[in-house]
Symmetry: C2
Subunit: 683 residues, 2 copies
């Protein structure tokens, strides 16, 4: 199938020419003004050797010729055989499928383990050229660290996106698939360009209509999407409803140990693979937040997941089973129950009990994508179970893509966390990549931040998180500065001044957001439901297990072994010890683990209450800098993206002031302690 | 037009025979088991003299013969002339239209000023018979105290009801009128039986589609409703959209001083009266909560209302202009702005500036239908302006018809409040009735509590509020006990034990609700938006002007002249003085007017904090009693109503516990002061 891409930008629903730079994201392929460099490219890469392969080969040729023409101003010939200078792609059986080696030796060559590797190499080389990298000493040898590199869509078929902040779903509208092929292809291009190799296209909360995605009613449509993604090396996942045997199959139950249920799933997967032979597998949110699951029938999660695994195994499919299981009907009066404990308590006893094609997907922290949490104690503790670490690109609790927050620093901290489960140096990144325990499957998944907005992500700067997510899952050793400068070069051009301003805006943005929102590991001081804006007591007396316990003397959750919930004991010994003691607990997590008095003195010499005041004033100042830095970009980048971002930054500033004032006033009213700097705290 | 009524209960949408007792509300017309009494009725009232008049006459005959047949077991003959015993209705020109005099003199006679008066007399006599009142010494002389006795529906044409807690709209569905004639007629019967004489049938927030109610598109449907209501002496009102000249008329503005706008309204009202010659008038919410209004064009409310008044005057129509005008974008940081001041500040300067057919509708309190508020200072202060007092049957802030709350005690307090504006004894009830200032129009309106639920009001016991509202607006000197026992007799039968239990449940229910929710005049500690359930800080940092200012030392709003917002000065001198001083301020309103320390000692000898704890524990105990008392009714009333109410009372109990614990914990955490009785307050 041939689908044109964004030369035809006007064919994308809701996108017109004025949106072009926004829509192209980091695939601008801006014309390179250096004549010297262009001439070098023209001479070294005047032709490419044509490929004979699957749809991916066609994508490779398209991407290469299109991008070179845009950047350099000529279209390379595609020839049966390159003689002399040109681009040649050579498949090497001994290499891993997704690995590549780009070198300049007998002309520019890509050695690749397979077509996907070649595709990644082409995108890498194009990035290199856009940044005017040296082509003579080319020697780029890469392979992805994480076998699975997944985006989870939380799209509903009515067109809404759960926790979506970038318009409506690009896949669905009114319970049907949209006619949105050009955008789907452009989306696949964006993903492949940063190495994403799997996408689930429907919400993990699978409602009635989405339960039918695995049936005849929708499988042809699903296959259309799969076709588009396949040409970019991306495999499809669907979220399934654990109650489908009842809701779709007409059975009276969904007990995983009953024959008829197993038979239902076997048939369902046969149908799916009939339509999509390379279908990757399914994502399951079971027994979570009122979703059905094996608990209903007194079965374990292992029994529940293994039944699906057996049904999908003949097709080599996988079952991704989410560990986001906790009691969402908790009594706020009960200080002994601790939601943070839930995933570990539920899944740790099952280590080793899951089939080889089951993968547990574990959220990065024990709660739910807060501004700051410790790493989930389950990561690393499970040694005989396939795991995937789950991040969230969608900025649910992080400003909902109306606040600019560069998430890479958060993810880097998490990936570099030493779980200590196999002695010192048992890093999250190595557990995710499979290096530590060598599981059958491993990798990273993330909830996407995308919709049908003309800039994909609502906030233009939120594009960086999608870019960075891809790059980091490909290579977790990349650092956030380098990824940002790559992205900045590709997205806004290579002027050094632009890059400096973007760095000044984005590198500290997560910490800035943390400053004006959530001090010292306290989360959940947010409006319930939609999760936007401050509401300190919003979750305090609710059933979600999400409390701060602030009173007139102090705040924080006692999770110690001695006097608290004992959550600290879920970590490997050294970490457990550190977290359990307020004197050794990292201060940015102090209130996550301990209930502390307002006048407790931090290592900075400040009391907690003064720290709260200071960080909230600093946070607003940080946003003021962001606005000023962005304003300095006027005229240096296109007006549309300039004004789009400026509008959001201005909102961010006013909203940060709201956060600052509400939090400061709340804690001032409660503690009665004045700001030692006598700044304005409203009474 | 003849429409049958609830003998045909199965023809009402959503209602079946099992719902019969619920649906009949207080018009049960239960068969009277006393043979003596039945024989007395049969002998005294064996026939009635037929009437020749409008639709109301037909209603009178229908109501009388139907009810007598059900209660007594025979159907009175309707004869051209009653000779000897029987019921005769005689119209007396010198009486007011709605007045009547029932006496037994030459047989039972109803003297009435007009058909409406006769209808009210018939319902009164039927009530008397149902309660087996004496018929020999009959001498009931009545006329309504309030000329206008109105129910406002907040129904939207999509079928929803704003602040509706009893199902969907009985008037609309999917932007059309429903085919619901039987229910409309039964509704008119219920209203007329307690003297309501006007109904507005659409939400004061008039959206796009409802703007067309005054146009050809819907006027035929409106006229159908008017026909039904007319037969029960009820006139129709519509809420209008002040921006209709633009949204419906295609003008570019809605400036009330522009000719084209006036012409639009003149034409619109001509059309309305063409369809409904006795149309009563319009209700307007302008410049309120983001609704359009005259402020948009720099005009005053008087200019805005008078233009409409002039347009509708040729048809003798009225314009009811709501005074619920305030800044809903207030900054919580600003303690000087006071929403409570808003209505007075806006409207007081305009006293005397409104046309004779404009009526200002003033909410009972200065805020918005809280559990307890002082009386609006505007009531009584406006001396040269027609006013209507507005109540809310819909239990928006009072448990949403899931909690049983008998509202009459609240209304009685309000009606008996002495505003002092014409010296001692200037009661709200006399201002509303027109006795004090003798205005052209006056009366009482209330937001209805009705929907298409089979029991009309969601909670079966909420029927009492509709009944009581009608009775009280008819005669504000009736007391809440007597109204309750009337209602109880009619609704559940005359067993003394039943009545005692219902009194035990309902008479203290408002105070009980207040105890477990809102101490000492503090309001707004409720979930924003839907207004159900506790959320102490829910409105505290929001833009609605609704704050409690609780800190670690105390709580309440300083509305004094010296140190607060000066709101107290809006009252007549004596009240202003009383409210302004915490030592004389009625304690149930103490925190409405004053910011007080937790340890302030009340006249009970208790501190405020102890009062909070005590009332919250007592409130829950009160609900426990309600449940126990209701359970004692098992077998004494029909199962359906018994179980319906029991289910809601049980929910009320668990929800009251939630209120108690959250409020007690909130204030304990803030004050740090322990309950002197050492009951369980969660930390």
């Amino acid at each position: 199938m041939t689908v044109s891409f964004y030369p035809d930008i006007k064919t994308v629903s809701g996108v017109n020419n004025s949106h072009a730079t926004s829509y192209r994201a980091w695939l601008q392929y801006t014309f390179i003004t250096s004549t010297t460099y262009r001439e070098q490219v023209m001479s070294l890469l005047k032709e490419m050797e044509c490929l004979n392969g699957s749809d991916i080969s066609e994508s490779i040729e398209q991407e290469w010729t299109f991008a070179i023409r845009k950047m350099i101003g000529f279209q390379p010939a595609v020839v049966p055989e390159v003689k002399g200078n040109g681009l040649r792609i050579v498949y090497v059986d001994s290499m891993e499928k997704e690995a590549f080696h780009i070198k300049n030796e007998d002309g520019i060559q890509i050695l690749a383990g397979g077509e996907a590797g070649a595709l990644y190499a082409v995108f890498t080389l194009l990035r290199h050229i856009q940044r005017q990298g040296d082509l003579h000493s080319l020697n780029m040898k890469e392979k992805p660290a994480n076998p699975l590199r997944i985006i989870n869509h939380w799209d509903n078929m009515d067109g809404s996106v759960e926790r979506g902040y970038a318009g409506e779903s690009m896949f669905y509208r009114d319970d049907s698939f949209r006619e949105n092929i050009v955008r789907w292809k452009d989306y696949a291009r964006l993903l492949a360009s940063v190495g994403i190799n799997a996408v689930s296209i429907n919400n993990v909360n699978v409602h009635k209509v989405e339960s039918y995605l695995i049936t005849e009613r929708y499988l042809k449509d699903v296959a259309r999407v799969a076709d588009i993604f396949r040409a970019y090396g991306i495999r499809l996942l669907l979220s399934i409803n654990y109650a489908s045997p009842m809701e779709v199959g007409g059975l009276t139950h969904a007990d995983p140990l009953e024959e008829d249920v197993a038979a239902f799933w076997k048939q369902a997967f046969d149908d799916v693979y009939q339509a999509i032979p390379d279908f990757l597998g399914v994502v399951v949110k079971a027994d979570s937040e009122n979703r059905p699951g094996p608990f209903t029938y007194g079965r374990t999660h292992a029994e529940g997941a293994n039944m699906l695994a057996d049904a999908i195994a003949p097709h080599n499919g996988i079952v991704i089973w989410r560990c986001f299981v906790y009691d969402c009907h908790q009594d706020w009066r009960d200080r002994t129950t601790d939601r943070a404990r839930a995933a570990y308590d539920h899944f740790m006893p099952l280590d080793g009990a899951f089939k080889d094609n089951v993968i547990l997907q574990i959220k990065n922290g024990p709660m739910d994508f807060q501004v700051r949490e410790p790493v989930s104690p389950l990561i690393g503790a499970l040694k005989q179970t396939n795991v995937i670490v789950e991040f969230q690109l969608a900025q649910e609790y992080l400003g909902q893509q109306r606040h600019a927050v560069y998430l890479l620093p958060q993810w880097k901290e998490i990936l570099n966390f030493d779980t200590g489960h196999e002695g010192e140096g048992t890093f999250v990144k190595d557990i995710a990549s499979g290096k530590t325990y060598n599981p059958t499957h491993s990798g990273i998944a993330a909830v996407g931040n995308l919709g049908d907005d003309y800039n994909w992500t609502g906030h233009t700067l939120a594009q960086v998180n999608l870019y960075g997510y891809g790059r980091l899952t490909w290579d977790p050793t990349l650092n956030e500065d380098d990824i940002l400068s790559e992205w900045s070069d590709l997205t806004f051009g290579q002027e050094e001044h632009i890059q400096q301003l973007l760095e000044a805006i984005l590198l500290p943005s997560w910490l800035t957001y943390e400053r004006y929102t959530s001090p010292l590991g306290i989360g959940w001081m947010i409006n319930p439901g939609h999760h936007y804006g401050p509401n300190i007591d919003g979750y305090e007396y609710d059933a979600w297990g999400t409390y701060h316990f602030a009173d007139r003397n102090g705040l924080g959750v006692d999770r110690t072994v001695e006097t608290g919930t004992g959550y600290t004991s879920q970590y490997a010994e050294q970490n457990a010890k550190i977290y359990n003691d307020p004197n050794t607990c990292p201060e940015e997590l102090l209130l996550f683990f301990h209930h502390m008095p307002y006048n407790y003195e931090l290592t900075s010499g400040k009391t907690i209450i003064q720290h709260i005041y200071d960080t909230h004033f600093e946070g607003v100042k940080g946003v003021e800098s962001m606005v000023a830095n962005w304003e300095a970009l006027e005229g240096k980048i296109d007006d549309k993206r300039f004004s789009d971002v400026l509008e959001r930054l201005k909102h961010q500033l006013s909203h940060a002031i709201e956060w600052r004032d509400i939090i400061n006033t709340y804690f001032y009213r409660k503690s009665g302690i004045k700001d030692i700097h006598q700044r304005k705290i409203y009474e």
